[in-house]
Structure formats: C-alpha cells, structure tokens
C-alpha cells in the first residue's frame, strides 16, 4: 500500500463538476446492461427460458399419448393437444404455459430487483454520489430491465421455435378453435402473441419497479409484484364483480388467445394494451416521483 500519489490540482468545470464529468454520460445503458449481465440471477433466468422448451420437448417425448381430456379451458386446451403438431404450435404452447406464471415471475424479478438490489448491496449510494442524476439512474435501470424481460420472452420463443421445428417440422399453426393457419401467417401470429404477452407483462414490470423503489428488499419487491398479480387474477375469476373486472390489471391477460381465431379478435388485445399502458405509466410515474424525492438511507 505504499503509493506515491501523483500530484496536480484537477481542473473543474463551470458547474463545479470534475473534468470529464457529464451528467448525461453517467451510468450508460451499456454499463448497466453489463453490470446486470454478469449476475447469476440474470443468467439463470435467461438460461431457464432456454431450458424450458427442452424440458417440454423431453416431456412430450417421454409422455404417453393419454391425456385427461379437455378439462379446464375448453377448446383452448386443444392448444396443448396440438403442441407437437409443428414448431409453431410447440412455440405457442411454450408461450401458453409460461404466460400465466413463469413470465410473470421473470419479469417481476428483472424489475423488482433494479433499485432494491442496489440499495441492499449499498452500491446505490455510491451511484448517487457519482453523481448519477436520480431520474437518469431510474430510467436506465428501467430500460435495462425491460430489455432483459424482452430478451427472456425472445429466448423462450426462439428456443421453442427452433427445437419444435427441428423435432416436429415446419407445419401450419393449429389452434383448435380456428382453421389451420399457414406457417408464414402463423409465425406472424406467434410473434404478435409474444408481443401482446410482453405488453401485458408491462403491468407486472411497472408494479415490481415501483415496489423496488419503495423497498430495500429485492425479494419483497419481486414477491409483492407476483402476489398482487395473483390477487388480481383471483379477483378476475369472480364474475360477480361485473364491469369492475375490466379495471383489473390482469383482466385482459388472456386476450392473446384471440389472435388464434380467424379472423383475429383485436378488440380485447387493444383494450388489454390500453390497460397495460395505463398501469405501466401510472406505476412508473409514481416510482419516478417517489425516487426523486426519497432520502436514500441504505
């Protein structure tokens, strides 16, 4: 530790900042992306998205042909019956099974962890002392979390499509509720489904992000977001709530199934998008408002 520190008085800028400092250059998207990329959590989450289709494929290969009928979701359950009819259907099935819970958890993980994890490590105060402007810190973190969430959906979709096509071939998309959809159009519908799922996940993203700002416990933010999502889903099952259900953030979660019918049903997709965008905006606005005025004591 015996060091001779070099001498010389550093120059300063007019606003008092050290030379070379620009608020707009602090904590860039790429820096934050790299910071998160090296985390086990990130790698595991993305890795599982790749592994899930493999597990599904193995399950289909090992499993017998017997099934317990079309219990539960009526004709939509044919989606699982048709899963092995082609790569498109396999990918659709992979999306279908992950939409209600796995993606929710993954998105909540990426967003709930943003600020809360930095706070729990103690690194948040050093970033703020750099200083990274608070709005910028939040904005970059949100952008990176959104990117990783999108990456997760794409990883799942890509792997499932690749595996499914290699194993089951490139065949028309069968939905069980409409006619066969030719592969080209089927791929577009698959992408649209993934797109809507992503938009719908904005609700979870916004909620987890807000909770992440409000608490210093990353698990609390992730768990809280998942919990609230599930509560909303449960309330949505209570038809007695009537019109009020339209305002539940999860009410349109399954609207993507409308993309499998012919012609496609965009009504609920659009309403779902409106709902998701509204919730996302509200949650994020609250998060920014709260964080920009918060005393960081952790």
């Amino acid at each position: 530790m015996s060091v001779e520190l070099k001498t010389g008085r550093a120059a300063a800028q007019a606003d008092g900042a050290a030379e070379g400092y620009r608020a707009g250059r602090t904590l860039t998207y790429a820096t934050e992306f790299a910071r998160q990329w090296r985390r086990k959590r990130t790698q595991l989450a993305l890795g599982f998205m790749v592994v899930l289709p493999v597990i599904l494929l193995i399950a289909f290969e090992l499993g017998g042909s017997d099934d317990d009928g079309r219990s539960g979701r009526g004709q939509f359950s044919q989606l699982s019956d048709a899963a092995i009819s082609g790569g498109l259907n396999f990918a659709m099935f992979a999306l279908f099974v992950s939409a209600s819970f796995l993606l929710v958890v993954v998105v909540a993980l990426f967003h709930g962890d943003t600020v809360a994890a930095e706070a729990s490590w103690g690194s948040l105060r050093y970033l703020l002392a750099v200083p990274v402007p608070r709005a910028r810190l939040l904005g970059v973190k949100l952008a990176v979390a959104l990117s990783y969430s999108a990456l997760a959906v794409l990883a799942l979709l890509g792997t499932a499509l690749l595996l499914g096509t290699v194993r089951y071939g490139w065949h028309p998309l069968q939905s069980g509720i409409a006619a066969e959809i030719p592969p080209g159009e089927g791929l577009l519908r698959l992408l649209a489904t993934a797109g809507f799922l992503g938009i719908n996940m904005l609700v979870v993203a916004g909620l987890a992000f807000l909770l992440s700002v409000l608490t210093d416990a990353p698990l609390g933010a992730v768990g809280g977001a998942v919990l609230l999502y599930i509560v909303s889903s449960i309330l949505d099952q209570i038809t007695a709530l009537g019109e009020l259900r339209n305002f539940l953030p999860t009410h349109f979660a399954q609207a993507y199934l409308g993309l499998l019918t012919t012609p496609m049903q965009f009504d609920d997709i659009i309403k779902g998008t409106i709902s998701a965008v509204c919730y996302f905006t509200a949650f994020c606005a609250l998060a920014f408002y709260r964080f920009s005025r918060k005393d960081v004591v952790s």
Partner: protein, 925 residues
C-alpha cells in the same frame, strides 16, 4: 380509500330515468268479448312524460312461460330511450288470470288490443288519432308471434319487431325438410318443454335476461306461489292434465303428441295461431330478428314471414344473430347490434327521427371463443338486400358414397343427440360445433373431397337423397358436417333436417331423389375441410318411427353422385367498437408522449431556475458547512452543524454514536436532503445530484459492491458509471491502495470485511478527487494497515486536496488528522486544530499507595497546575511545567509508593471533557 370510493359508487342510488306503474288491467276477451281477464301489467314511463310532453308507447310481450318481470331489463332500456313501455303477463301465466290459448286471435291478441285501448286513454301517450296510440310492439318467441298477429288484427300498431318467432306453428313443431308432403316429424323434446311450462302457469319473476327471457326456452316451471288465487287458477286448482292450458289446446296437444302426427283439426287450430295465415294484413313496418342457434323456430320461419309481409309492400328488414332458443342471447356484439337495430327501427317509425332504416340484411358468424370473458365471439356482416335463404349465389360440392343400410331402432331408442332443447342460453359455445353423437349402425356418411377453397355459407344448403324402406315409410335426419383435416366433425349449431318420406320403394335402385333443405346456417367451411352428409335414423329431440326396420339410403340421383348446394352471400363486416378502441389507444400513446415531453421540459426549466451561483469567497474551500440541520419528523438527527474543510487539511469528524456524523455525511453526498442549512463545495451549493459531487470521493456507511463481480470489476464498473475518461481514474493507484493483491480478481462476496473496506477506500480515491470523505475508514483493518492508511491520508491531503474522516477512534484521529470537529447531540462542541483542542497541558495518571500523602506532596510542588482524585488510589494530575521525572521523584521522596505512571491519551481527555461521561447519543435526548 379507493375501495370505499368504489363501494360508494356501487351503492349510490342512480336515477333510472323512468318510473314504473304497476296496475291490474281488466280486459274483456274471448270470441264474444264477454270473458273478464285481469292482466298484471307494468308501465315504464320515461322521465318527462306528461300531458304536455306525450311520448310514443311500446308493447313489450314476454316469451312463453315468462311474466312481465322477465322483460324488465329490456323495458328499462327502452324506457331509457324515451318510450312508455307497457309490459304485461299474458293470460294464463304468472299473476294474470285466464288460460293459455297460445296466442289465439280471440284471447291473447284481443287482450293486447284492449291494452292499446288502455294506452290510448292515458294523457301522457302520443296519439295518432283518438283512441289510436302511437305504438310499436315487440317481443321474442311467444311475444314475437303476438306482435305479428296483433299487427295483422289491429291497424293501430305502427311498427313491430318480432324476434325468434314462428311463421307456422304446425310446421315448426312438425318439421319437414323434404319437399314432398307437409307431414312432418314431431319435435317432441321442444313440445314437451313448452307443454310442461304451461302446466304451472309459467315461471315467476326473476332475471329477465334479454332474449333468453323473450325467447321461451322453457326453464323449469316457476315458483308456485306466483300464481294468483283470483282467477281460480291457483296451483291447487290446476287440472293435473292441462294445468293452465285452455281445454281445446290441451286436448289437441294430448292428441297429437300421442300420435306424433298433425291431424286436420289441429293443423287448422295451430294455423289460426300462426302469423303465416295473416301476413297479408300486416301493414306495420317489421324488423324480423331470428336466431341462428335455434332448433325450435329456424331461419325458415323468419324467411316466410319476411316474404309474406314484404309482398304487401310493407317495409321489412331481416337480421340474424348467433343465438336463439338454443343459443340464448348470443355474443355481446350481436346483442349490441340488435339493440341498435331495434332502437333505429322505432326511432324512425314511431318518433319520426332519422332516415328510414335501410332494408339491408345483417347477420353474424361465430368466429371463436372470447379469450377474456369465455363467451362466444361473432363478427357481424351486412348485405345491401336480404338474399333469402338460398343466397346470392351457390356453390355445389359433390359428396360420394354408395347406398348404405341403416337401422331404425325400436321406439327411437337409442338415438343420436344433436341439441338439448330447453337448456337455454349460456351453452352457446357447445352449440357452435354441435354436441352430436351419431350411433353406429344408425347412420350413413357421404363425404366430399377436401375443399379447394373456403366457402362461406349463408342460408340453407340442400342435398338430394334417396331412401328405400320395407314399410314404404321412413323418418330420417339429414345433417351437414364440417370435417376438418384431422377428422373431427362439427355440426353447425347442432341443427339437423328431419324428413318424413312416404311411398318409398323397397329397393334403393327404384327410389326417386328427394330434395332436402338443410337447416339454415352461417358458417365458413375452410379450405382443406370436407363436407359430410350424414343420414341418421333416430334423434332424441324428435319422435321417429317405432318399428325396427332397416332402411337403405343414398345421396343424389341414381345415375350420379350427390351434390350439396351451398348458398353464399358475401357480406361486408360491420365495424365494431374495435376501431374506436384503437383510436383510444393511439390517443393514449400520443398523450403519453406529449406528457413525457412536458415533464422533461418542466424538469429542465426547473433545473435551470435552481441557484447555480458560485460563492467566490469559498470557491477554493473544499467544504463549507453552516447551520446544517436534518430532522426526521419530530426526531432531530442533526441540530445545527458548522465546520469548514480547507485544502491540505485532514479533518476528523468526532462524536459518540448517534451524534449526527453519518447523517451529516449523507447530506454531504447528496443522499438525503438537509432540512435547513447551507453546504458549499468549492463554492457550489450542494443539492442531491449536484455536478460538484463528482469532485468528492466517498466511503459512507460501509462499502457497497456488487457481490457477483470481482474487486477489479467493481472498480471498473463504478468508474464506467461515472462516465468519465478511463485514464482519469488512476486505476493502478487505487488498486495499490486497496492492496488486495491477487484477491482483486475474486468475487467481492468472498471478501472479508477488511478487504471490502480497503476496496471501498480505493473506490473513493478513484480519480483522485479533491475532497475525500471517509466514514470509519479503518473499520475492519488490522494495525499495520491502519498505520498505512494513516500515511496515505496524510499524503493525500498534502497536495491541496482535503480529507474528511469520521471516526470514533480517538487515537487514530489524533495521529492522522490535522483538524478535528467534535460533534455531540447534533451540534459542534469544538472544532479546530487537533493540538488546539487537546490543549498544551498533558495529564498523567498516577496509581499511588497513599493518596492523601500524594495529594499533599503535589500541593507543595511548584508548577503543578492541578489534579483530581479518581477512585481510591488514582490521581489524574496536570503536571504543567513540572516534568514527569521530577514529579515522580518528589513523590517517592515523600514516601509515596507508586504502582504505575501513565501518560493520559490527550484527545480522549479533551473529548470526554467536551461530551461528558454520557454515552447517550443524540437519539436518546
């Protein structure tokens, strides 16, 4: 609070926009007009209706088995549109007296005429002439037929909207799809459902769900208590065989149901109760609404009504929807469309508002299941002119297969199941593709090749069949399936075509082809799908032939294959609310973009308004703090702190735990906002995120690293986050300060506390900031490292930089710092050079054997400033000018035994003197 608001909103009484008048209206009815019947009525009067503001009226009739309650919701809707809506319970049902005459012109229709009289007497109903109210009539099923019959019988009716009703009741109940005889096959399931619901006089009040209630899909009979005692028709007095049915109708039913055939009397009796015979009398503009999922009154009934009424030159419009007696209300989009059409119809023909509605024909096709609400989704289509059931054009598809032998089971059991009469709405999804099970041996299949292109069928397909029977007679059920490439077959809406054939040869080669009109459907047969014609011998909904015989059946003429004729009528999709929602979405996105832009602009402007002035007097002072105060609610963490850190100084911030050191440092780093006071860093006013913070390196409240990165990666990631040029970091210097050796490549989560601490100091020194703020920097370090750290800090400040160290290790501050600031209970109790605070006179501890003697000796010694007794054997002595050696020898000479002589740590004295013995921090005040 949100919940409370929602609850309040939910229970808040809403102005319904109408008031109701419940009234029993006595009418004289019967062929001679001499029978008194008391009708249970309810009039819905819209707000504002009065003698000065007369409103047009609507008669809203309920379905079979219903009461005035079952149409309540529709009545409320219509009253909301500004009509006086009169609902009543038809005679023989509910609380009305009388008997069920099945829409007899002498009874039910006459009752309705008397109700028109009743309306005409009111002063708030608009009149066309004296005794002639401006009135429309609507209803479903039983009520629909009444509206047609009333319009034919009474010219005062100005417009009608009959829904899912019959043209010929005889033909409806005895269905015949073959173009041979009129003799049909008895719809025993439906007939039974209706007859039984008339036994008890109909269900009572209850839901009243739109068309479900309009359409008499004969739910379980209502509560017995609903029936009145007035007419002597209470449950106790009911005839066990006929219930509230009129005797003549009851006897007819018993006769034809037993025989399974319609005789001449009954045919005539039913014809009198059917609009078919009086269509030429109808002059009131008619909007006919018929259901696609209706095995009781199929599309052919509405088609016959439409053609009959249009022949008079009366305006007629036809609409089909994906519901009916089997399918209920159908999808929401259909319900909305029908409501719109009905309102438009009455608005023009009763109120005179708007253009005359076009004669265009609208229908809907089931497109799938609603993914969100689990209902059925349908798309509406529109065609300029009603094309009838045979479509605008036709496609012919050959089906192949030779003659097959099929067995008729004895008494029609076991039989195939195609529909479930009376189960009503809500089950529409199960009807979309039918619930069919064909029994082996009882049916023959004839399939087409896969369709080359999709065919969108709108209307009644048809096919020719041939049959041979040993008895010369056969009852067959012809079905058209849509078979997908996987082989699963769908029967559209579960509709089948029953045919009764007579005069058949015993051999199939002698059989003549018979044209069979299949049920009307709206369905898209996809490309690649096949058509399948199935001819079956028994069906649970129909009464077939009892004799167990074998038939031979085939399709098409003997010399060629069968051809299925598919009518098509391409329609234009009706725009739905989708488009509106899309605009809402686009508007929302635009709004958000604008909102975001405004927020950014406002934030920039506010940022510009912040005081950026530089205090020239302090421009070269690394840190200048005055009146710093921080409170959390009532709790005062920092009361008022003033101090200054000049270049070249190493300033120690001293204080007991809770004195406010860390809180002050947090404010200095911009992590928390001060309640009051001013902090200048190089003359720049400090605020959270102020750019001048970039000239400060800090270690506050322990290290904070990303555990998944190595020490080196952490430093690199931190520097990258500053966005400053890489070469300014002085990375190697910092690593050397950390002194972690190879450990710097290991992940931080495996570091000891001391290692993290050193890495944190190194991070604070990255870029050699002009002001270094370190909170307990030696925490977790071992003594050699502490010594090294001391040297590093002293050297760091020697070059015009400054260091602020907070610590509770007094010796360390004493040895490291040039200056000290002592904080206690949120206030500065001393500040200045360390040696000034310590003072010039060091003290010494003396443990002596005789404390009195020692005291006396010291008293006599010149130069001793003072002393204090501390315990039984210890003296704290301020020796002043006297050297320690002289003092000890003087004491020894005096005979005082000395156990121990200890020079006191000087800053500690000063510290204790300043803050007292209390260990309580500011938090305990």
């Amino acid at each position: 609070m949100l919940l409370a608001g929602l609850a309040a909103w939910a229970v808040w009484p809403e102005d319904p926009g109408y008031r109701t008048v419940d009234e029993r209206v006595s009418v004289r009815t019967g062929p001679l007009g001499d029978q008194d019947v008391s009708l249970d009525t309810r009039l819905y009067l819209p707000d504002g209706a009065s003698a000065g503001n007369k409103v047009p009226a609507l008669l809203l009739a309920h379905g079979f088995g219903g009461t005035k309650e079952s149409v309540a919701l529709d009545a409320q809707d219509l009253a909301g549109l500004g009509y006086a809506v009169l609902t009543w319970t038809a005679q023989g049902f509910g609380a009305s007296t009388g008997q069920i005459h099945l829409n007899s012109p002498d009874y039910e229709v006459r009752d309705a005429q008397r109700l028109l009289d009743h309306l005409a007497k009111r002063d708030d109903i608009q009149l066309d002439a004296s005794g002639d109210p401006r009135v429309g009539v609507l209803g479903g099923s039983y009520g629909g037929a009444l509206s047609l019959l009333l319009a034919a019988q009474d010219k005062r009716v100005d417009a009608i909207v009959p829904m899912i009703t019959w043209n010929d009741l005889g033909k409806s109940l005895f269905a015949q799809s073959a173009a041979t005889t009129d003799d049909g096959v008895f719809k025993q399931a439906w007939a039974g459902v209706f007859f039984s619901s008339g036994m008890s006089g109909g269900r009572g009040g209850g839901g009243g769900l739109d068309l479900e209630s309009l359409g008499a899909n004969g739910e379980a009979p209502g509560e017995g208590g609903e029936a009145p005692g007035a007419g002597g028709a209470g449950p106790a007095n009911l005839n066990p065989q006929c219930g509230r049915w009129a005797a003549d109708i009851c006897q007819t039913y018993l006769r034809v149901a037993a025989a399974g055939r319609l005789d001449a009397d009954s045919r005539q009796q039913l014809a009198a109760r059917s609009p078919g015979s009086v269509l030429n009398q109808i002059k009131a503009p008619t909007l006919l609404i018929q259901g696609l999922a209706d095995s009781l009154f199929p599309l052919t009934e509405a088609d016959a009504n439409a053609r009959g009424i249009a022949a008079n030159g009366t305006p007629v419009r036809v609409a089909w929807f994906s519901g009916g007696h089997d399918g209920g209300d159908g999808p929401q989009s259909d319900a909305d469309r029908l409501k719109f059409l009905t309102a438009q119809w009455f608005d023009h023909y009763l109120k005179g508002n708007g253009e005359a509605p076009a004669a265009s024909f609208t229908y809907s096709r089931i497109t799938g299941l609603d993914a969100v609400d689990r209902g059925t989704m349908a798309t509406g289509y529109q065609i300029t002119d009603y094309p009838g059931l045979t479509g605008q054009s036709a496609v012919q598809v050959p089906v192949s297969g030779g003659p097959r032998t099929v067995a008729n089971p004895p008494n029609g059991t076991p039989a195939a199941l195609s529909s479930l009469p009376g189960t009503g709405s809500g089950a529409l999804s199960s009807f979309v593709n039918g619930v069919v099970s064909d029994l082996p041996g009882q049916h023959a299949r004839f399939e087409s090749a896969p369709l080359a292109q999709a065919v969108s069928v709108v209307g009644t397909p048809s096919v020719q069949i041939r049959a041979a029977s040993p008895t010369g007679e056969a009852v067959l059920y012809v079905k058209l399936y849509d078979v997908d490439p996987n082989g699963s077959a769908a029967l559209s809406m579960g509709l089948i075509a029953p045919v009764r054939l007579t005069g058949l040869p015993t051999a199939i080669d002698q059989a003549r082809p018979v044209q069979v009109t299949l049920p009307g459907i709206v369905r898209e047969f996809e490309a690649g799908h096949r058509l399948r014609i199935t001819i079956a011998t028994a069906d649970q909904s129909y009464l077939g032939l009892a004799a167990p015989v074998d038939y031979t059946v085939a399709v098409g003429p003997a010399d060629g294959g069968g051809l299925v004729t598919l009518p098509t009528a391409p329609g234009t999709p009706i725009a739905t609310a989708d488009a509106l929602w899309l605009y809402v979405l686009l508007g929302l996105v635009a709004l958000l973009a604008v909102g975001l832009a405004i927020v950014i602009v406002v934030a920039r402007r506010r940022h510009r308004r912040v005081d950026h002035s530089v205090s020239a007097a302090h421009a070269d002072t690394p840190l200048w703090v005055r009146g710093l105060r921080k409170t959390y609610g009532d709790f005062v963490a920092v009361d008022s702190i003033d101090f200054t850190v000049e270049r070249g100084q190493v300033v120690g911030l001293l204080g007991p735990n809770g004195a406010g050191k860390t809180t002050s440092l947090r404010v200095l780093m911009g992590l928390t906002q001060a309640t009051a006071g001013e902090v200048l860093i190089f003359g720049h006013r400090l605020a959270p995120g102020a750019p001048v913070l970039s000239r400060i390196g800090a270690l506050v409240e322990g290290p904070g690293f990303l555990p998944h990165l190595s020490g080196e990666q952490n430093l690199a990631a931190y520097w990258r986050a500053t966005g400053r040029p890489w070469e300014e970091a002085r990375f190697d210097d910092a690593l050397a300060i950390a002194g972690l050796g190879d450990a710097v490549k290991r992940k931080v989560k495996n570091y000891s506390h001391g290692m993290k601490q050193r890495l944190a100091v190194a991070q604070a020194m990255l870029g050699l900031p002009e002001l270094l703020v370190l909170d307990e920097p030696t925490d977790g370090l071992d003594p050699p490292q502490i010594a090294e750290m001391r040297r590093v800090l002293q050297r760091y400040a020697s070059d015009g930089r400054a260091v602020l160290v907070s610590s509770h290790l007094l010796a360390e501050v004493e040895q490291t710092c040039t200056h000290a600031v002592v904080v206690h209970k949120g206030r500065v109790v001393a500040s200045g050079r360390v040696d000034e605070i310590v003072g010039d006179s060091p003290t010494t501890l003396l443990d002596v054997t005789d404390i009195d003697l020692a005291s006396k000796t010291l008293d006599r010694l010149d130069g001793v400033t003072g002393y204090a007794v501390d315990g039984e054997r210890t003296l704290v002595v301020d020796l002043g000018d006297v050297s320690r050696t002289d003092a000890v020898s003087a004491l020894v000479r005096a005979g005082v035994g000395i156990d121990r002589v200890t020079p006191r740590r000087r800053l500690e004295d000063a510290f204790l003197a300043l803050v007292g013995d209390s260990t309580a921090g500011s938090g305990d005040r």
